[in-house]
């Protein structure tokens, strides 16, 4: 019999049968009590302007309208910024982005509320907006002070290096496009208490921000989240929807539901930071980087939000898997009149990694070498060249193993040659191939966030109620944590009841973010289990006089002490009758980590996730269109709790990253208006975009050397970055048109247009 019988089990997501039958309840599906009102937000059609007058008289007169609310209705803090101020719920004097909320309406139906918002008359004094990174750099318009980090003496080593390159590179923004948009439902209770249902990754912060807005205490606000229809970072700090909904409910003293429609969601809420970098690099003939200087700028939008942490993670991942002996990076956090850029799977890490991957790709092309070899010769080593630029010793490095295994498994070398032949034989269609590595650090870099709580009750019929601070957003955290708990108690999975995340059960939780939801909350749940077990074992030992025996084994519904065994169900009943507590909280805080933000040194991560991917593409050089012929992935998931769910994260993360680097393009007009606001203009990958061959494997030798639940490694964010190979395969195909003699200039996303323009530019250089 297997040692652990629920771990490693490919069981379906706990809600799968509810998903497929339409019975899984999302916030908008909750049946409303009689008298519920429906909200809608009125927002600014200017990106940068002084507010002269907001005339809502026609709005109020509109059919079905019960109330309107503006900044003057806010008794407390008029800001939803989680870390810094700067995100007013309704600005008082000045709008700073196209789409910024200005007022809200409560009406008898969503349709009538939305119709009413269109009747507002707002008079602005329009100011010139700053929209792009380059404009902000030129005007030195920054949202937070940038950092300058340095190791060694890159200036000197670049000068001494035999080879030198410089250039610049852009990666684009990205809309989360969670299928369930932002939505909240608030029910007023006695004593001005509010019960808040919200589609959020961060119930505790939702609670605190609503409390501060209403000048109430946190203990008067309860936030519940059963599941959300995708988050990807887009529901980590977006508190506008829930705050405005709570404001309307508080003002009208009626239940209010507020659901943004897709366009409003895209217009009003934040997206991924786009990044612009300039670099200088010195390297030897093997392509080993000897010195590197980077200026790294990002579009942060109109407020700080999480931009500090996101740009910090970009700095922490500028090395990806490479040892950079002499490096200097200066970053610039640009303030623009666009919606505040926010968390998105990868959280700056992917943007940082694309910078170094592009540099390595260019070095390889300059030296006319296979970039796989150049990547390898820059990898961190096990015993030397293993200290990161922020001073952390890498102890769990498996990138060489993964990379070499994948080269073999994917038949990379043969295909590399075959593609060169294909390109000689074909004039208009060209193929490209690339292999890229991923090393991604796990933990919140803001150390205090690395904590979690859980609550477990065992009822007298021995059914178990499980609650923890993590949010189920599709990643299967509830399923995995229930598997861990069932396993620890030696019970069937079905005995565990998964319940809504609830701020009144587990307080002061961190956002479900930074890929660490299961690591943190799973460990907290196991802590609760072990506390209950201590109670039970103490009781059994005393009652059955089993003094010498140390550890009990929980298996198949039994509790075994050497030769004696007890039925779990009967012991629970007995324990209750003997007045033994059958409920416990659990708590976890990540060990070992520390980080000095001032000196930019320490151990910000408990461990690293590793992976690699090979992508082969074909492009049409007459139109710039591209397709992905084949992808091979090898990803370290440690000892996976549920390999089926991990596989889902890896594949889904890859395709999301593919979208980021190919077709997903946010367009802002020079006046700051966003024009890609719905699926008709903003394209995320559809089924026909997925790789024609998609071979995904979990690294079988994987095991987390740190004490993480089940020795597993997370698969939340890291797989997104596997898609980097898509971009560089496209670049490889473009380079083939110069017979691999020139370095193509290509920015992300590599849309058909960018590819065609890159081909054209390259052709001009060749001729």
């Amino acid at each position: 019999m297997k040692q652990s019988f629920f771990i490693d089990e490919k069981r379906p997501h706990d809600s799968a049968s509810k998903h497929v039958s339409g019975l899984a309840e999302y916030t908008d599906d909750i049946n409303e009590p009689y008298g519920t009102l429906y909200g809608a937000i009125g927002w600014s059609k200017e990106a940068h302007a002084l507010i002269k007058k907001i005339d809502l008289s026609e709005v109020l007169k509109s059919e079905g309208v019960i109330a309107v609310t503006t900044s003057s209705d806010i008794p407390g803090r008029n800001d939803v910024g989680a870390v810094f101020n700067g995100d007013p719920i309704f600005p008082l004097k000045k709008v700073e982005y196209y789409g910024q909320p200005l007022f809200a309406v409560a009406a008898t139906s969503t349709e009538l509320a939305r119709k009413a918002t269109l009747k507002a008359k707002i008079i602005f004094k329009v100011l010139k907006p700053i929209v792009t990174i380059k404009e902000a750099l030129k005007k030195k318009n920054f949202i937070l002070k940038g950092k300058k980090i340095q190791r060694g003496n890159p200036k000197k080593t670049i000068l001494k290096s035999k080879n030198y390159l410089k250039g610049n590179f852009t990666t684009g923004s990205q809309e989360h496009f969670y299928l369930e948009g932002q939505v909240a439902f608030v029910i007023p209770k006695e004593d001005k208490d509010l019960l808040v249902y919200s589609s959020t990754q961060h119930p505790s912060e939702t609670q605190q921000i609503i409390a501060k807005m209403l000048n109430q205490k946190s203990n008067s606000i309860t936030v519940l989240v059963r599941r959300i229809g995708g988050g990807f970072g887009g529901k980590e700090t977006n508190f506008l929807t829930s705050s405005i909904c709570a404001l309307l409910a508080s003002k009208t003293n009626k239940p209010v539901k507020l659901r943004l429609d897709r366009d409003d969601d895209i217009i009003i809420t934040g997206k991924r930071h786009d990044f612009y970098s300039e670099y200088e690099v010195g390297f030897n003939d093997a392509g080993v980087i000897q010195g590197l200087k980077i200026k790294l700028s990002s579009r942060c939008g109109m407020s700080p939000d999480l931009s500090g942490a996101i740009n910090e993670r970009a700095l922490l991942h500028i090395d990806n898997s490479y040892y950079l002996s002499d490096i200097q990076v200066q970053n610039y956090l640009c303030k623009t009149n666009t919606v505040s850029s926010t968390a998105f799977r990868g959280f700056g890490g992917n943007q940082g990694m694309m910078v170094i991957e592009n540099i390595i790709d260019n070095i390889s092309r300059y030296l006319e070498k296979d970039s796989a070899d150049v990547r390898k010769s820059n990898f961190y080593q096990k015993n030397n060249r293993n200290i990161t630029h922020y001073g952390m010793k890498i102890e769990d490095n498996v990138i060489q193993e993964i990379f070499n295994k994948l080269i073999k498994k994917s038949n990379y070398k043969k295909r590399y040659l075959k593609i060169k032949k294909f390109n000689l034989d074909n004039k208009y269609l060209k193929k490209g191939i690339s292999i890229t590595p991923v090393k991604f650090g796990i933990s919140f870099t803001t150390i205090h966030l690395n904590q979690a709580g859980a609550l477990i009750h065992i009822y007298t019929d021995s059914s178990i109620h499980l609650n923890h601070g993590g949010i189920e957003m599709g990643q299967g955290t509830n399923t995995k944590i229930a598997q861990l708990v069932a396993n620890e108690f030696g019970l069937r999975f079905e005995k565990i009841k998964i319940s809504s995340t609830n701020t009144s059960k587990v307080p002061n939780t961190s956002a479900s973010a930074a890929s660490s939801t299961t690591d943190l909350n799973g460990a907290a749940a196991l802590d609760a289990v072990s506390k209950i077990k201590i109670n039970l074992e103490k009781f059994i030992k005393k009652k059955y006089n089993l003094k010498q025996i140390k550890n009990a084994i929980y298996k198949n519904g039994l509790i075994k002490f050497n030769k004696k065994s007890f039925k779990f169900d009967s012991i629970i009943k007995e324990a209750y009758l003997n007045r033994i507590s059958l409920s416990s909280t659990g708590f976890y805080s990540t060990p070992k980590i520390n980080f000095n933000k001032k000196t930019f040194t320490g151990r910000p991560f408990l461990y690293f996730c590793y992976g690699a991917s090979v992508t082969e593409v074909t492009i049409d050089t007459l139109t710039g269109e591209s397709i992905i012929d084949q992808v091979d992935i090898l990803q370290d998931a440690g000892k996976a709790i549920n390999p089926a769910l991990e596989l889902g994260q890896i594949e889904g993360g890859f395709v999301q990253g593919q979208g980021w680097l190919t077709m997903e393009e946010i367009i802002w007009k020079p006046n700051g208006q966003i024009t890609t606001v719905s699926p008709s203009t903003y394209k995320i990958p559809a089924v026909s975009d997925m790789p024609k061959k998609f071979n995904v494997e979990i690294f079988k030798q994987g095991k987390n050397r740190e004490n993480v639940v089940n020795k597993s490694k997370t698969t939340g964010e890291p797989p997104l970055m596997l898609a980097m190979s898509v971009f560089f395969a496209i670049k490889d195909a473009i380079a083939s048109t110069s017979n691999y003699k020139k370095i193509p200039i290509l920015d992300a996303p590599a849309t058909s247009e960018k590819i065609l323009m890159s081909l054209k530019e390259l052709k001009n250089r060749v001729n």
Binding site: K10, H13, S15, A16, S17, H19, V20, S21, G22, L23, A24, Y26, S109, E111, Y178, L179, E180, R227, I228, G229, G230, D261, R262, D263, L429, G474, Q475, T618, I619, D620, L622, T623, E625, S626, I627, G648, E651, G652, F654, V655, Q656, M663, T675, T676, S678, P679, S680, K683, I684, P685, A686, V687, S688, D689, M690, K692, V696, T751, E753, L756
Partner: protein, 478 residues
């Protein structure tokens, strides 16, 4: 005889709704009135598939199942049909439909929000096919977006299906057919708070109505028109619905031309046109999702007159013509004379397109290309279509049309002139490419820049002639 009651089969009963709001979508009907919340709103524009439901239509004693976007279909369009939503698939004893079980077993859901839509699209595929290859599967779910899975597990779930064992709908089919037959076709006339809705059953009835009410908005599939309600949040006050008129749902052919009735769904047309113009079929498959093509019509695409309507450049290069009728007259107009300016046509009040005629060319080479950011379910940056006769390396006849290059879908007249009666040489093609600048001054928008548009317009011309010259197509294997 007319009625103000919309009748349809739902949950094994005939539902009757009196004086329905003609602007109410099926999605709002299901979620807000029936309080069945399995069907989701993802975008309210037919672009994500989360709202997919299945419509059963009686066709010669069989039920034909069609996946549609309930967010942009009006409840009135359910008249005489069966409505199936995701909650209907689970049996009373709680057992899952084979499509649902497959999705569970293959881990086809993560956050689960898009899942009901996928389930309904796959259900429709399951009912309409007996085997499920990758192409069929991809086509069936090309209008369903998933942000979590990357689609692989959903494809695997679909591949695992076989419908040899009858499901509950097959077992109940006779009952359902009897219920559908009980709903006798009637002209519908609704007046709800000054919103008027007419759904005539015959062309004669249609003409009577437009004679009296020349200000009606014609509604066909409504995949464009419905956005006035769902996106602009406006009312459409007077609607005349064409798709109840069965006599306009036809495809005829003779030696010279194919005639397509105005209410023929694109899906039916695309299957038919394949034997004459394979590229027309290829483009229509990428016109929009199957949910859209199940209800959208060519006539609707023409009347909407969008510069980026995908069928229009193809029809222009084929020199199609349209029949325009009002209550007492019928004229035939060449499509090239139909478009006046951005979204403006020669269609006058009270006039409607009754059919489209596409000439049959036996010796011509017909090619069409669509360039967009995404392969499926996207709007063209540029769509190009070429209709050529080459005799002894000389271009004897040529018609070229582009979409996305001007405020209207338009023929490339200057370019055609250069090519006509010319030798089919690189030099001539180069001259023709340059002349496109005289024909078109494209614009920048969120889909493409003007430079890119011009560049691909030129390259597609080159591609077309290179393909002809080498007798080998240069296409990515989508």
């Amino acid at each position: 005889m007319s009625s103000n009651i919309i009748r349809f089969v739902f949950e094994n009963k005939i539902h009757e709704i009196k004086n329905l709001d003609p602007n109410e979508t099926i999605l709002n009907f299901i979620r807000l009135r029936l309080k069945k919340t399995g069907t989701k709103e993802g975008c309210a524009e037919g672009g994500c598939g989360a709202c997919t439901v299945v419509i059963g239509e009686l066709k010669k004693n069989n039920i034909v199942y069609k996946a549609i976007n309930s967010c942009i279909a009006f409840t009135t369009s359910l008249e005489g049909k069966q409505l199936l939503v995701v909650e209907d698939l689970m049996q009373k004893d709680g057992s899952l439909h084979p499509v649902q079980s497959a999705m569970v077993n293959f881990h086809g859901s993560q956050c689960g929000f898009c899942t009901p839509g996928f389930v309904m699209s796959l259900f429709s595929m399951y009912k309409n096919n007996t085997s499920y290859d990758k192409k069929t599967i991809e086509e069936s779910i090309s209008g369903n977006l998933c942000r979590c899975t990357g689609y692989r597990p959903i494809i695997d779930a679909a591949k695992s299906l076989n419908n040899k064992k009858p499901d509950q709908f097959k077992i109940n089919e006779k009952k359902t057919i009897n219920l559908l037959k009980k709903i006798r076709p009637e002209n519908i006339y609704i007046n709800n708070k000054n919103k008027k809705y007419f759904a005539p059953r015959t062309v004669i009835e249609l003409k009577k109505i437009i004679k009296k009410n020349p200000n009606l908005k014609f509604l066909s599939g409504g995949t464009d028109l419905a956005l006035i309600v769902t996106k602009q949040k406006k009312d459409i006050e007077n609607i005349i619905y064409l798709n109840s008129i069965d006599e306009l749902n036809y495809i005829k052919e003779n030696n010279k031309y194919i005639e397509i009735g105005a209410t023929t769904p694109l899906r039916k047309f695309e299957l038919f046109i394949k034997k004459y113009y394979p590229d027309f079929n290829t483009i229509l498959k990428r016109y929009g999702s199957i949910q859209i093509r199940n209800i959208a019509t060519i006539a609707g695409n023409i009347a909407t007159a969008s510069p980026i309507g995908d069928s229009l450049p193809l029809l222009l290069s084929l020199d199609a013509s349209i029949c325009i009728e009002n209550f007492n007259s019928k004229t035939i107009l060449s499509l090239k004379d139909f478009f006046i300016s951005y979204r403006k046509t020669k269609l006058k009040k009270g006039q409607f397109i009754s059919s489209i005629r596409i000439p049959i060319y036996k010796k011509n080479i017909f090619k069409a290309y669509k360039i967009s950011k995404r392969i499926d379910d996207d709007i063209s940056s540029v769509c190009a279509s070429f209709n050529v006769i080459i005799v002894n390396k000389r271009i004897k006849n040529i018609k070229i049309a582009y979409g996305g290059m001007a405020p209207i879908p338009k023929r490339a007249i200057h370019c055609e002139k250069i090519l006509l009666n010319s030798d089919f040489s690189e030099e001539v093609i180069l001259k023709a490419q340059i002349s496109l600048k005289t024909d078109f001054q494209p614009i920048n928008d969120m889909r493409a820049s003007k430079n890119y548009r011009m560049e691909i317009a030129k390259n597609l011309l080159f591609k077309c002639f290179t393909e002809i010259k080498n007798n080998k197509s240069i296409r990515l294997n989508y």
